[in-house]
């Protein structure tokens, strides 16, 4: 028995020793890699030619890594095993990373191209004064639909989704903030509402939507809508753009009651070793010509005002992805509601999911 206890202790000690050596090795590697720059981005979210160009221009060697969720990205940055110099999280992740002290403040003097960013997208509540982040792309949450499957009808508002003719035709994205936000918006409340009565009202309203909901899915929604498995989807505009690329019949609308405005911003995480290089990269991506090419490749909405002017009219004039000022005024950015309220949102969402037809 005694020897077994000793074994356990020995094993734990060995494990911790190994962890220590790994972190030591990693950090020593990071110090020697002064001429590399590690970029941590969503998959397929940059024009690869631009990376090559940046390498030629700056003489740095770019290591490009991808993640598929903000949470996975934050966990990796928090662990600190890898040296990421630039990362591109979404706005709510940025406020969380700020709270957890995972970001390095930006030196605005090293980012002269910052001036090209549209005023509307600067100095937002998740990062006042853009101390830590610069917008990379932005978008909305809205309704993608297939007019052919709806006898040519057009959808314009959240409340259109409650139409009885849409029975079993709607796919929702598996996100608590998106779905509860839709419920709140459809009632005319803010999607950052924390009033318990309003939330309960939204929950009841969403329960009434259940017969129309075919499924609540993740990334597969792109494949399912493009494959006409259902006529209507509640999705992020970026995903909608991809679906419309796949299936030309599809149309996208930002509901008139208002919706969510989201951002993916460039930040320098705590793990960065090449801080000058990171600034150089961010500044490079803000160059109007570069940003325009990137926007054309990725297909998301660019926050770069000068780049927008360089884009062809068919992209920049598309009100579905660059909504006019009236509608933009109704769009809201997710505020960080605090962990407790977020947990409450999630519980409401769970209850909505459990509501049987």
């Amino acid at each position: 028995m005694k020897s077994i206890v000793r074994l356990f202790v020995g094993v734990f000690a060995a494990a911790f020793a190994l962890m220590y050596v790994t972190s030591l090795l990693n950090s020593s590697q990071g110090y020697t890699g002064g001429n590399t720059l590690t970029i941590y981005n969503w998959g397929d979210y940059i024009d690869p030619e631009l990376i090559t160009e940046f390498e030629e221009q700056s003489g740095l060697k770019v290591i490009y890594q991808t993640f598929d969720s903000n949470e996975a990205m934050m966990t990796k940055v928090a662990q600190g095993g890898t040296t990421f110099d630039v990362a591109i999280p979404s706005e709510y992740a940025i406020s969380k990373m700020k709270e957890d002290d995972l970001l390095i403040p930006l030196d605005h003097d090293k980012l002269p191209n910052m001036k090209y960013i549209d005023e509307r997208f600067m100095d937002l509540p998740f990062d006042p004064g853009n101390e830590y982040s610069i917008p990379y792309f932005w978008g909305t949450v809205g309704i993608v639909y297939n007019p052919d499957m709806l006898d040519g009808r057009k959808l314009t508002s959240w409340n259109d989704l409650w139409d009885e003719r849409l029975r079993n035709q709607i796919l929702l994205v598996d996100g608590a903030r998106e779905v509860i936000g839709m419920g709140l918006n459809s009632l005319g409340y803010s999607l950052n509402d924390t009033n318990e009565e309003h939330l309960q009202e939204a929950k009841r309203k969403l329960a009434a939507l259940t017969p129309n909901v075919k499924a609540i899915v993740g990334d597969e929604i792109k494949m399912l809508i493009a494959g006409e498995e259902a006529a209507v989807g509640v999705v992020w505009s970026g995903d909608a753009a991809e679906m419309m690329w796949e299936n030309e019949k599809l149309d996208y609308v930002v509901p008139k009651e208002g919706s969510n405005l989201w951002f993916d911003n460039m930040v320098i995480p705590r793990t960065a070793r090449n801080i000058d290089g990171a600034h150089a990269f961010i500044n490079f991506m803000l160059d109007p010509e570069v940003a325009a090419r990137n926007a054309e490749y990725v297909g998301y909405s660019t926050p770069n005002a000068a780049a927008l002017e360089l884009l062809p009219e068919e992209i920049s004039g598309d009100e579905r992805f660059y909504p006019d000022a009236v509608l933009t005024a109704k769009l809201e950015v997710y505020e960080n509601l605090g962990k407790r309220m977020l947990a409450h949102y999630n519980d409401l969402f769970l209850e909505f999911k459990m509501h049987r037809k």
């Binding site: 094993v11 969720s69 597969e220 962990k339 459990m354």
Partner: protein, 268 residues
Amino acid sequence: MSSNTRNLYLIPYVAWIALFVVAPILLIVYYSFFDVEGQLTLDNYAQFFTPVYLRMTLSSFWYAFLITAFSLLVAYPTAYWLTRTKHKRLWLMLIILPSWINLLLKAYAFLGLFGTYGLVNALLETIGIGARQILFTDFSFVFVSVYIFIPFMVLPIFNSLEELNPSLLYAARDLGASPWTTFRRVVFPLTLSGVKAGCQAVFIPALSLFMLTRLIAGNRVITLGTAIEQHFLVTQDWGMGATIAVFLVIVMALFMIATGERKVRRIR
């Protein structure tokens, strides 16, 4: 000396158990006592006994039960028939083969098969039944789960049928038992250990299924596994997620004890 070398051989095993079984369980028990803000609390356990989570628990158990029951229903005759065929190893291999393919890939394949324009609906259309919604229903969820778990049920039952001494069957026949009586009184009781092992191998993972609930059931089926995933990845409410996990571990332990071997084999 000899006991020292024996202990040396134990190291990989003990290391494995310590790092991947004992440590994680201790960690989830530890986390279950903290709320979202990192305060020490018992609230998570109180919250578990609210209607939302109790209903979720009930539905988890119900679906796990359905999956186990249907798996058994399919697997027992299959295993029985397997032991009677000529090339049983080959057939067994063919049944186990699909379990070498990643679960997620199989789930995606079913998305295509069961879709509105999928193969199954095309077939239903041609034979005149007409297309219907298969994907995102209880049926598709149970069907795909059963399909995935069947090899885990077939194997232990097949093994226990193989171990069955054929002379017992001859004896039963000699004594005038009908095939049904032989099965009921001889075969089934003697292969019960295999059935129990199979049920364990199916019921326990079925309780915490989560990818399939989204991919195949479109989140219309909510199990405890889904809730754990949500709490860890989305809400970051690790306390609540851990509490559900602790509960699942307890249930699994109880289930193992209830279906486990009662014989005490230890020799002093």
